[in-house]
């Protein structure tokens, strides 16, 4: 029966797969086919089994992650049970989530060559392959660049080039755009579309990017609880708000973009008139400049006021200066020129530890801060530095966990929580310190639509209780929905400073 199968096709028929640890997502009755040259998106909430499904296709499951496997998978007409991962990888290229751990070469050129040299391809041919692959991903001229010095988007392209260099028939990508700005995201999808059109490569990609998925893919497969729950045309899925939200997918409002634009006023003056009467300035940057050690001018003469109780979104491309600016607020970086005033005081002589009592900062990756063996201890860590009694600490931990909705988890080990839960834990551990100003860097990275909405609701509630909130985000839609003001950074400067009319109106009513 398999003789009829073409190269470049996928046929999955898995009755069951469970990881050895028994914790991670289990697959059950998973069936689907993909034709040669199709561009298919894989969507669904976090924990639905997307990564697990993708790892079936080049045999990582069941060869690398052994577990309890019952079923057959044909990738490129090869039964994955009969071939080693290394052999399958010549035909089925897999780009995994974290680009950092997929780059082996010290230079771009060496990295692209890693795959083909493992396949013992002739040296002269490898030289051609390097140029071709870099050309496809738009990294021409990067050959001799040091790979660790590339930006996030460039690294992502490099990992794709590294896989393309092996000339696979099927290309599988696991959330390759989660850390990119909207422009970078679109570039990746465009590049994949080009591969499908010009080289007839089969592309199977997972992610939460509703807009790009609708624009570029031929078909969407939706997973929930380890099985396929929907399979069809992108337009149908995204236009059906109820259906999409049911599976944790962001629906697309038809005219959301135009609507969004009309809600904004491009007048900075307005903010002063509207707010300065009653509101107190809590953060003020005066002629703020910052330069990194490598000489990159990350902030150029920033003048900015943020008022008490505001909910501000900082937007802009990767490298525009959003994070560099936020790190000035809690003293992680000190201005090279100019001053930053918090509550009217110059903070140039205050350490981050001192400032942490007033200014909370939640980083993008919760795993960079979690180190305790229970959820409770993790939240308590920051409190131990404040002079509080044991009872006060206990109360604050309880309140913070309640606030983010983790109160029944306080004895659990943080690393058994899902990614969304760990993000909430990171927020709780800062909330417990009761900061007056809270900075949250990319609160929704890699989260599904439900997780994103829940996180935004938490932030909204905090803000309504009086905390000044500053969030760095790539998601303009969320920024418009929740924040009072949107500040756009570009090339180290404040490019625009919008007040969000819709929110102001709500406040007046």
């Amino acid at each position: 029966m398999n003789n009829t199968m073409e190269r470049g096709t996928i046929k999955v028929d898995v009755r069951k797969y469970q990881y050895e640890n028994g914790i991670d997502d289990t697959l059950r009755d998973l069936n689907f086919d993909i034709k040669k040259g199709e561009f298919v998106g894989l969507m669904g909430r976090t924990g639905a089994g997307k990564t697990t499904t993708l790892m079936l296709l080049n045999g990582l499951i069941p060869h690398f992650f052994e577990g309890d496997f019952d079923g057959t998978v044909f990738s490129n007409s090869m039964n994955t049970l009969r071939y080693r991962v290394q052999t399958l990888s010549r035909f089925v290229g897999c780009v995994m989530q974290d680009p950092e751990t997929q780059i082996f070469g010290i230079t771009v050129e060496k990295d692209v060559a890693f795959g083909p040299s493992n396949l013992a391809i002739e040296k002269s041919r490898i030289a051609e392959i390097i140029d071709e692959s870099l050309d496809v991903v738009g990294l021409n001229g990067y050959k001799y660049r040091i790979s660790t010095e590339l930006s996030g988007g460039e690294k992502q392209r490099l990992t794709i080039a590294g896989i393309l260099a092996m000339e696979p028939e099927i290309l599988v990508l696991d959330e390759p755009t989660s850390e990119l700005d909207p422009e970078g995201r679109k570039e990746i999808y465009k590049l994949l579309k080009k591969l499908v059109n010009e080289k007839n490569v089969t592309v199977f990609i997972s992610g939460h990017d509703s807009e790009e998925m609708r624009e570029f893919t031929d078909r969407i497969i939706v997973l929930d609880k380890g099985t396929v729950v929907w399979n069809g045309l992108p337009e149908v899925l995204f236009n059906d708000k109820e259906l999409a939200e049911k599976y944790g997918i962001m629906p697309i409002d038809k005219n959301s973009d135009e609507l969004a634009q009309s809600n904004m006023i491009v007048e900075t003056q307005l903010i002063k008139e509207d707010l300065s009467k009653e509101e107190k300035i809590i953060i003020e940057a005066k002629d703020l400049s910052y330069e990194y050690e490598n000489g990159r001018q990350a902030l150029k003469n920033i003048n900015l006021k943020i008022y008490e109780g505001e909910f501000v979104s900082l937007i802009g491309k990767n490298g525009a200066g959003k994070t560099t600016f936020s790190k000035q607020i809690n003293g992680l970086l000190k201005p090279k020129n100019g001053t930053i005033l918090i509550n009217g005081f110059d903070i140039k002589n205050n350490s981050t530890a001192e400032l942490s009592k007033e200014i909370g900062y939640v980083f993008q990756n919760p795993d960079h801060q979690i180190f305790s063996s229970t959820v409770y201890d993790e939240v308590e860590y920051g409190l131990k530095r404040l002079k509080l009694t044991e009872n006060e600490r206990e109360e604050r931990v309880k309140d913070a966990l309640d606030f983010v909705g983790l109160s029944n988890q306080n004895k659990r080990h943080p690393f058994t929580l899902g990614k969304g839960e760990r993000q909430k834990l990171a927020v709780a551990s800062i909330l417990a310190m009761k900061p007056k100003i809270l900075v949250i860097d990319e609160p929704t990275t890699g989260q599904d639509w439900n997780g994103t909405k829940r996180m935004m609701e938490i932030m909204k509630k905090l803000n309504s209780e009086g905390t000044t909130l500053i969030t760095i985000t790539h998601n303009l839609k969320l920024a418009l929905e929740y924040s009072d003001r949107i500040i756009k950074f570009s090339d180290g400067k404040v490019e625009s400073n919008f007040i969000n009319k819709k929110v102001i109106k709500e406040n007046v009513n």
Binding site: L119, I126, F371
Partner: protein
Amino acid sequence: MLIEYYPQGSFIHRLDVRTKILGFFVITAASFCFENPLINFLIIILLWFMLSSMNSPMSKVYGIIKSLLPIFLIMLIITGFTYPASKFGYEENKRIIFSLLPNNGMPLTTGGLYYGLTLVLRIFVMVFASSIITFSTSIEDILQFLKKIKMPHQLAFVIATGIRFIPTMQAKSEMIREAQMARGAEFGKGGIVKKIKSYIPVLIPMIVDSIRMSDNLAIAMLNRGFGSMKNTTNLTEIKMKSIDYLICVITLVLLMIVLYAKSKNIGAL
């Protein structure tokens, strides 16, 4: 690493890694053959010329030398006082400058001082000579050399990947430090126990992250076909050019001269 590769197109940069390593051994051997500080000083001048011809960042080299200064001083004093005069062939080297103890006990001899100076200069030679290699040779060339001396491919791969990940791990530890500082962590304050304890919030996420990364790396290696073939393609084949052979011959002739001189007791104290 203390010293890293500085890509420049100098004559020494273009030499084969093997030529450079042979040169390194011959120069160190010469330095060890001669006890006379004057000859060692001449070797250093030669090396200094080589370093400057390569446009090397000399401040890095001086930085290392500077950190070694106290050791140099101790070496000079100890050898100066402890070398018995009878060890030296030449009369003028047996001269005692003064003695620490009565009856010529613990004498400071001219020869002892010279010998101490030679020991110090030998360290200079090694710092200079190894800097020449590291400044002028890329990691790839060094790995090729390791392969040529039959180091297993896997081991060479581990070394290369390790080097590739040094900046990544530095960046990770910086991110973790910042995340903990934002929660009020202060590092390296208080007594020794407190000091060590203060780093736990950095160490644990670092370890957890490394384990996760190593798993991901293993997957990524499989995805790139690592181990699918017995042989892999050698991308940069290091090649001895005629200039390399010429330099090697000259170097070996120099080695002969050094050994001959040594047998004639030239350069002894």
